[in-house]
């Protein structure tokens, strides 16, 4: 049986910097998870992934990451792995969290 679709955001790493980035509603790449386009249908998610895969001169390794809507209706990670990617390493304050 096919796995039930759960909402996603599209994420990748920036080709030159390696930074974690997300696809927003304008089709731009942005740094904040909460600014990502919330993909609540499988069709939309797959469509956006197909578009991203054509941008390999800008990004590396695009994939759909599980997401949920937070209290402010903005996307938030649904899995702790994406929380770390969104924030940066938890061993001490550096990486993305220090550059925000």
């Amino acid at each position: 049986m096919a796995k039930k679709f759960t909402p996603k955001v599209l994420t990748a790493n920036h080709l030159l910097s390696g930074d974690v980035i997300y696809w927003d509603e304008k089709g731009d790449w942005v740094g904040a998870f909460e600014d990502a386009l919330y993909l609540d249908t499988e069709k939309l998610a797959n469509h956006v992934l197909t578009l991203a895969e054509k941008q390999q001169d800008v990004i590396v390794g695009p994939y759909l990451a599980d997401a949920a809507l937070g209290p402010d209706d903005k996307p938030m990670p649904a899995h702790f792995r994406e929380t770390f990617r969104m924030t940066g390493p938890s061993n001490y304050h550096h990486g993305k969290q220090a550059e925000a």
Binding site: S17, G18, G61, S90, G95
Partner: protein, 555 residues
């Protein structure tokens, strides 16, 4: 130490030039990521969770001060001001930018370093005893063997696309400080019946999802037969090793599925041919490499300052008791510099700290440094009269933690704080254990103990061979930590036994604390170490303290 020949220099320069062009072609869109990925991996460039990561080889863990200074420069100029020493005696830079990587590789080449074969299904960086050339119990310095293997395996056309990665470790002492029994090939330098030099050859060890202790395939291999014999093992592995399933592709599975006797017979058959093919050039090379590893010119000086400092300063005394190992020259010591100050990331060193260590090596350490698989830095040759000054400088740099071999001297892989393969974090668990036992002031009372933590089943943190192993997993979207007990990374290698159900992230440090208090109650005397107590009593009493609620329910 070995210095690059013109051949080595030309080879690295050519590879760097090739990679620079490949990076440019990736950036201008001529290469897709699918095309570029195998090329970047061949040059040690990974993509991790937050950024690229460049893994730089430190052959058999040996560095000169100039090399350490260059690593510091790279950390500062191209990264976030630090580097991470790994269980493979390598260094990883966690934040390089793609466009900078060719410049980083050129900077490495300036000091005879590179990142080739730090990834991919090839023979990886050959590892060795971090006390090589210095240890009092050494039969022979294993580094010339490691260097011979490095030269033989670098860009070896037949072994560039093996079924899976291949790791070789070499030791020259009775005490195994390089975990040889957890490598695809482990080599122990031994002496034959008439005192002739040779190797005990161990094959098929490995950790990961199917941990196995290596088996002796040859009790005694004459030294001159090393390369033909190792090449024969690789040939047999290349032929019989599985390529249908990545998880069954390491030689440990080939040995397990075919049986050691079959593998041995096949290797011996191949060896007959290989032995003829080598023709002696390898031995000329080995002889010249050996000359490069001649011992330093040890000094002769009074030891009064050392003894005076030992009497006067309790913290220096503690450092001496914990961080020094016996050198073959009784006036010298091997100094292990802990990169594991309580609460810090195991294996991390800042650029400033790298420079301090480089300066100390240059001034007091015959210009030698080593990286251990336990993620510490070694000054292998220190005259004892220099120890007070070294200790003072290390203290100023936050590098004088007296915890080598103790509970806070934890191996921890990068885990989910950096690694794309990780299923859970490992570094914060190590930080919390170290901090907690420092608060309890129990570390020295507990004594010798190896805790090793991996953030996924691939076991980069060697958890299977920790006295206490911790494996971080993802259980239904939540970090969960399994404990193994009784592992051993030495010449008496053993795979730890899983203690029982895993613990949540916020339960794992209290669980370790229960385990340690249990050990303190169970040990027969203050001299009985954790592993000795475990071997005497077995797992049951340790499980009882780990799972008190389940114990009560069972009763």
């Amino acid at each position: 130490m070995y210095s690059y020949s013109q051949f080595d220099k030309d080879f690295i320069a050519e590879r760097n030039k090739q990679f620079r062009a490949q990076v440019e072609r990736r950036i201008d869109g001529s290469l897709t990521e699918t095309e570029f990925k195998p090329l970047r991996l061949m040059n040690g460039l990974y993509l991790q969770l937050h950024a690229y990561m460049l893994r730089v080889a430190i052959p058999y863990g040996t560095l000169r001060s100039s090399q350490m200074r260059q690593l510091a420069m790279i950390a500062e100029k191209f990264d976030k001001g630090y580097g991470h020493f790994t269980t493979r005696q390598n260094i990883q830079f966690n934040w390089p930018k793609l466009r900078d990587v060719p410049d980083i590789l050129d900077a490495l080449a300036e000091v005879e370093m590179h990142a080739i074969q730090t990834s991919g299904n090839c023979v990886r960086n050959v590892t060795s005893d971090h006390f090589a050339g210095a240890a009092a119990d050494e039969i022979e310095d294993p580094r010339p063997t490691a260097e011979l293997l490095r030269q033989w395996s670098t860009d070896h056309p037949e072994f560039a696309f093996l079924g899976r990665k291949f790791k070789i470790a070499v030791v020259g002492s009775e005490t195994d400080r390089a975990v040889t029994k957890a490598h695809d090939i482990g080599l122990r330098m031994v002496r034959g019946a008439d005192g002739e030099a040779g190797y005990e050859v161990i094959v098929g060890g490995g950790l990961g999802r199917t941990p196995m202790v290596g088996k002796v395939i040859r009790d005694f291999l004459p030294a001159e037969d090393l390369l033909p014999y190792v090449e024969s093992i690789l040939q047999v592995y290349n032929r019989l090793g599985r390529r249908d399933n990545k998880y069954k592709a390491r030689i440990k599975i080939t040995v397990h599925e075919n049986g050691l006797d079959v593998i041995r017979d096949e290797v011996e058959k191949a060896f007959v041919l290989q032995r003829q093919a080598f023709g002696g050039y390898d031995q000329e090379l080995y002889a010249s490499i050996k000359e490069a590893f001649a011992p330093p010119a040890f000094i002769d000086a009074p030891l009064d300052a050392f003894y005076a400092a030992q009497n006067a300063d309790a913290s220096f005394r503690s450092f001496v008791d914990t961080n020094l190992a016996e050198h073959k020259n009784p006036d010298y010591a091997i100094v292990t510099i802990s990169t594991k100050a309580h609460g810090k990331t195991p294996g991390d060193a800042t650029a400033d700290q790298m420079r301090v260590m480089a300066d100390l090596a240059e001034t007091y350490g015959h210009d030698e440094l080593r990286i251990s698989h336990e993620q510490n830095v070694i000054l292998p040759h220190v005259h004892k009269s220099h120890l007070p000054e070294i200790y003072a400088r290390l203290r100023e740099a936050g590098l004088a933690t007296a915890n080598i071999g103790l509970i806070s001297d934890i191996i921890a892989c990068p885990g989910m704080d950096y690694c794309a393969l990780a299923t859970a974090r490992s570094i914060p668990v190590a930080q919390q254990i170290a901090t907690r036992f420092d608060e309890l002031k129990l570390e020295h009372d507990i004594g010798a103990l190896k805790i090793k933590i991996s953030g996924c089943i691939n076991a980069c943190g060697h958890h299977h061979v920790g006295h206490i192993g911790i494996l971080g997993l993802d259980r239904a979207g939540v970090e969960n930590y399994q404990i193994t007990l009784g592992g051993d990374h030495t010449e008496t290698a053993a795979i730890g036994e899983r203690a029982g159900p895993g613990f949540a992230y916020d339960e794992i440090v209290p669980a370790i604390e229960r385990l340690i208090h249990g050990y303190l109650d169970l040990r027969s005397s203050a001299d009985e170490t954790f592993i000795e107590t475990y071997r005497r009593l077995g797992a049951a009493p340790f499980k009882a303290v780990l799972y008190p609620a389940e114990q009560i329910a069972a009763e």
